[in-house]
Amino acid sequence: MFRKTVRNARDYEFTWSLNSFILNRWSFPVLFLLVTAASSLFADDQTLIDFDTEIVPMLTKAGCNSGACHGAAAGRGEFYLSLYGSRPDFDHTSIAHRFEGRRVNLSKPESSLLLLKSTETIEHGGGTRFDLDSHEVKLISTWIAQGAQRHQLRILKSFEAQPQKQVLNKVRSKIPLSAIAEFSDQSSRDVTHLTVFTAEDSSAVEIDSVTRAAKVLRPGQHVVIARFLDVVVPIVLILSADSEQLDLTNLQRENFIDEQIYQLLEVLRIPPSPPAGEAEFLRRIHLDLTGRLPNSAQIVSYQNDKSQEKRKRFINSLLESEEFNDYWTYEFSKLLRIRSQPQDSVGAKTYHAWLRRELANGTSFAAIAKTLLTATGDSHEVGPANFFRTVGGPREQAEFVSELFMGSRLRCANCHDHPLDRWSQDDYHGLAAIFAGVKSGREISYITGAEVVHPATGEAAIPRIPGEQFLESLSDGRDDFANWLTSDQNKYFAKAIVNRIWKRLMGRGLVEPVDDLRTTNPATHPVLLQLLADDFVKHDFNLRHTIQRIVSSAAYARSSQTLPQNQTDLQYYSHAIGKPFEPEVLADAIADATGIPVRFGAASQDLRAIQLFDSKITSPELDRLGRCSREESCESSHATIGGLQLMLHFINGELLNLRITSTDGRLAKLLGGGKSDSEILEDIYLSTFSRAPKQAEVSYWENELSQINRTQERRELLQDLFWSILTSEEFRTNH
């Protein structure tokens, strides 16, 4: 009691000087009256106000602890709060004890700096956060009057926002949003007023800050994020297109994928396009499974096969082919960023060969991941050891591993707890600590006792499995992490990889971006993603199995031609999404079509671009086409070359010009072999578009050809025709 009096005496002096400073401001008396009224009302109130669950969310709601204000790692105006209130103990110390305790005035709550600032009674860089007569001001002053203690009366057990998902038929109709929290003291409270609701896309969903009603402005599926304390949950609002109800029950379902796709299309009232034609499907599946165009013999034999099961058989034969192993090794090499080190390409070669062998053998992806994560040895001999030569340092390793195998951006939690995900700084630095012992160089080894510093404590971070538990043993924590990651129950591992495979085959991830899986960035089809992940786990993490599932669906086999009602759809799979060729695939396709191979380094010329183990091998042609250097993730990078530059090169560079005029090329051989115009046309169309020319096309070209006489002119015209085919969108896209 004595101590309290002393402290209040000092506070009194301080507030006195403040009072004289603000006396001439009209607001002060108002504040004084209101707050004294409030404190006298609540001061004797037996109901204690809980700092963690009542004060902190108010600060969050008002934006006080956001990254732009006091929530920044460096605080603001010497006042520090944890980002979005993730650490209430820290916040309580900051408010009640730091700055000589001046932020709270126990005897005169209304004179607490916390209130004077936040009501902008005295100057406040952040402006007015609370009105003088607001509920918030009353609550804070009561809490201070009660002693500004932390109490810790209850812990949040669960938080639920309503509605979780709602389908609407009318634009701009109002949907009330609400939130309920359940606490450890068995209490359940309506915390709607303490919840921050934010629309991911504010031009699609409008949220009234007073009534907390949402209005959907555009058809489609939209997400609103609700935040209470450190919990964030999504609310999904779906507005159907303004059209007839849709009944898709009669459409063929090949597997569980189609059920899910049709369900959402029905809700959204977006009609699906019809199935792709045989030629379109053949080209698509061949490109997706082998990274190359089908040859004319394959096209003809597929067309002539009239059996019922031919599609299924064809898919299976592709999945078992060496070309499949080549192409998917290329895909996973990009994911793993396999590339040579300065003056050392042996490691990359060993790594690539190992990966190809594992994929060819059908090794489960869980086993592959485990091998990579725990690898040691001479990277020239042990392929997977090169995994630890991909990025530099344990933190970078933690970021790489979490993005690759968990589809999570742990890197946000380097400087602060992830604001939209469950990751904390302990998770980030704890995972980094697991990799701290990895000594990299040509020889990969693991030593115990290596540390990384946790920036919040300044001490060694404790090794930790993200979101789970700290590791106590002194042994190699990589084993524990790998076991946790690849267990059947892991919530991230299977989803992250099936989502990537889905994107590769379907043109868009169920979650985008593919390295940002979190509850607040929900999948377009959450149930489908879960089913695919479960199916993958059930089939022993077999990559071929999941690929086969996806390409066997009706959704995969849909035409890319749009209908008027589905042409703006880019995420609900109402039609196939055209996928531009990857740079290496385009290089190989040009080489195949023209008969002149791609040029690179000193490597043997009979390799294809997708078979290269080293993305750094010299090749101006591949650079032109915008290949990924694999120095950083290849997933989100835009080809910075391309567009105008690439087109200029198509026009004036050697890439196409040399190949269509070369005496060894396809066209020269056709001409030299005395083929007729229609034979040449047929051959070029088959080797580029993988189909015969349509009647209208034949007539057009025949007409063009009929206007010339000399052999030289004919050759030039056919070169120009060939050039325009190679330049066309139809050739350069898997559609």
């Binding site: 703006t568 530059q645 015209l717 139809e730």
Partner: protein, 456 residues
């Protein structure tokens, strides 16, 4: 928005697609023996009715000198000579041609002509990660997963009325900014992404590749090839999204067919004296090439200067250039020559008033030096320098606090800066553009405020 109606731009911009249609006619006009000049006259007539609706922009074009990685404000435009050594850092402060205004010792040329510049010392942003910060500074919007916004250059290109055949938005040597995740066009058609020169103008053999017609190709065959690509699409009614690749094709044909356009890239046509003014290094010669391009009608040129992410050994990287250098040749002295050369040259040619020069990066650096002798990311306060383009120069806007940690006065956000640059270019920052799925999006966020001190 609190600026007056007279300042509010009511210009109606011609959609770039309109220009595209003119271009499509180019082929047939060539065939008729009409030159590009005639064509441009035709399009002028077609647009005469629009002219009355335009306000005169202060600046016709913009050269953005992008210091990629986040330049230290404490070693460039906002030194703290009175702060403790760990804040002050290794570089000295020097006085400038305006009494009381100080700059880094590594910016002596700029210091001599500081009256041509305005420096904002109170830029502030919450985003301290390269990609995010770059997105915010380059587009005026914080990044979101639902929409990719166009950069200042992409928008300027989209709304440009310049009648040059040059690309409207260019980058020298390339547009690898903030880690390389920004295409530049955002939701606009991809042809508004910057055209990368992809070469170093400081090298003796510099040239932009693929501008000369390939051997064996003449313009008749080129136009035939162009016609066939269009024809193929019509015959097979393939896809709906082919517009972009057509416009790339059509613009390439246009570019290749124009001697004026090719000449714009020939930096060796500049006298040795002029080339010297800009300094011998890549950033200097890139600025010179940028001047040639805007002189010939390009609207937005980004000079991308990488290497400013100075987490360690800042004195070598920023000042000396290499260990033991007798004469400092690091990033800041190179910037000094380039920037002073550019602004003087523009001024002498009477182009400065109509060319906005902006110098910025994605954020500043931490107030305290770290243990590696570098500074880490610091977005809370940093500086941006501007010149030309009709701005009110010779002023400092805002200030940071004593240690360069927070804005002390007049915080300016990247959104405010974007709104200001748009205004200077005669573009209403409140203008709404349409995304591919038809939704309207403002050029700058609702809370963006034009910096009146600069434009007023």
């Amino acid at each position: 928005m609190d600026y007056s109606n007279s300042e509010r731009c009511v210009m109606k911009f011609i959609d770039r697609n309109f220009v595209r249609r003119d271009v499509l006619q180019l082929g047939s006009l060539f065939a008729l023996g009409l030159g590009t000049a005639d064509l441009l006259n035709l399009s002028k007539i077609a647009r005469a009715d629009e002219v009355g609706l335009r306000l005169k922009p202060r600046s016709k074009s913009c050269i953005l000198i992008w210091l990629d990685g986040g330049p230290s404000h404490l070693e460039t435009f906002d030194l703290k000579p009175d702060a403790p050594i760990e804040v002050r850092g290794p570089l000295e402060s020097i006085s400038t041609s305006i009494p009381g205004v100080h700059l880094s010792e590594s910016l002596p040329e700029m210091a001599k002509m500081i009256e041509k510049f305005a420096i904002i010392r109170s830029m502030t942003s919450p985003l301290g990660e390269h990609n995010f910060g770059t997105h915010y500074l380059m587009t005026g919007y914080k990044p979101t997963p639902v929409l990719e916004y166009p950069t200042l250059g992409g928008v300027a290109s989209h709304l440009s009325r310049s009648q040059t055949v040059l690309p409207q938005n260019l980058a020298i040597p390339d547009f690898q900014v903030g880690g390389g995740n920004l295409s530049g066009a955002g939701y606009l058609p991809s042809n508004h992404a910057p055209f990368s020169i992809s070469g170093d103008p400081a090298k003796p053999d510099f040239q932009v590749e693929d501008l000369e017609l390939a051997q064996g190709l003449d313009s008749a065959r080129l136009l035939r090839r162009q016609r066939y690509v269009h024809q193929l699409s019509e015959l097979n009614s393939f896809g709906g999204g082919s517009k972009n690749s057509f416009s790339d094709l059509d613009r390439s044909v246009e570019l290749v067919s124009s001697p004026t356009a090719r000449e714009a890239f020939q930096i060796d046509q500049e006298s040795p004296k002029t080339r010297q003014k800009y300094g011998p290094r890549t950033i200097g010669q890139s600025c010179l090439l940028a001047r040639r391009l805007i002189e010939r009608g390009a609207t937005f040129v980004t000079v991308n200067n990488r290497g400013w992410d100075t987490h360690n050994d800042l004195i070598t990287r920023l000042k000396d250039g290499y260990t033991g250098a007798k004469k400092p040749v690091g990033l800041i002295p190179s910037l000094d020559l380039a920037l002073s050369g550019l602004v003087n040259d523009l001024d002498e040619r009477g182009l400065l008033e109509q060319t906005l020069v902006v110098v910025m990066g994605e954020f500043g650096r931490t107030p305290k030096l770290n243990s590696a002798g570098g500074r880490d990311h610091w977005p809370r306060v940093f500086s941006v320098a501007l010149a030309g383009g009709g701005i009110r120069a010779a002023q400092l806007i805002g200030a940071s606090d004593a240690t360069g940690e927070s804005p002390a006065d007049r915080p300016v956000t990247p959104s405010d800066l974007a709104a200001t640059i748009y205004t200077l270019l005669g573009i209403d920052p409140q203008l709404e553009l349409k995304t591919t799925d038809g939704r309207p999006v403002r050029l700058t966020p609702h809370d963006a405020q034009v910096i009146q001190e600069l434009v007023g």
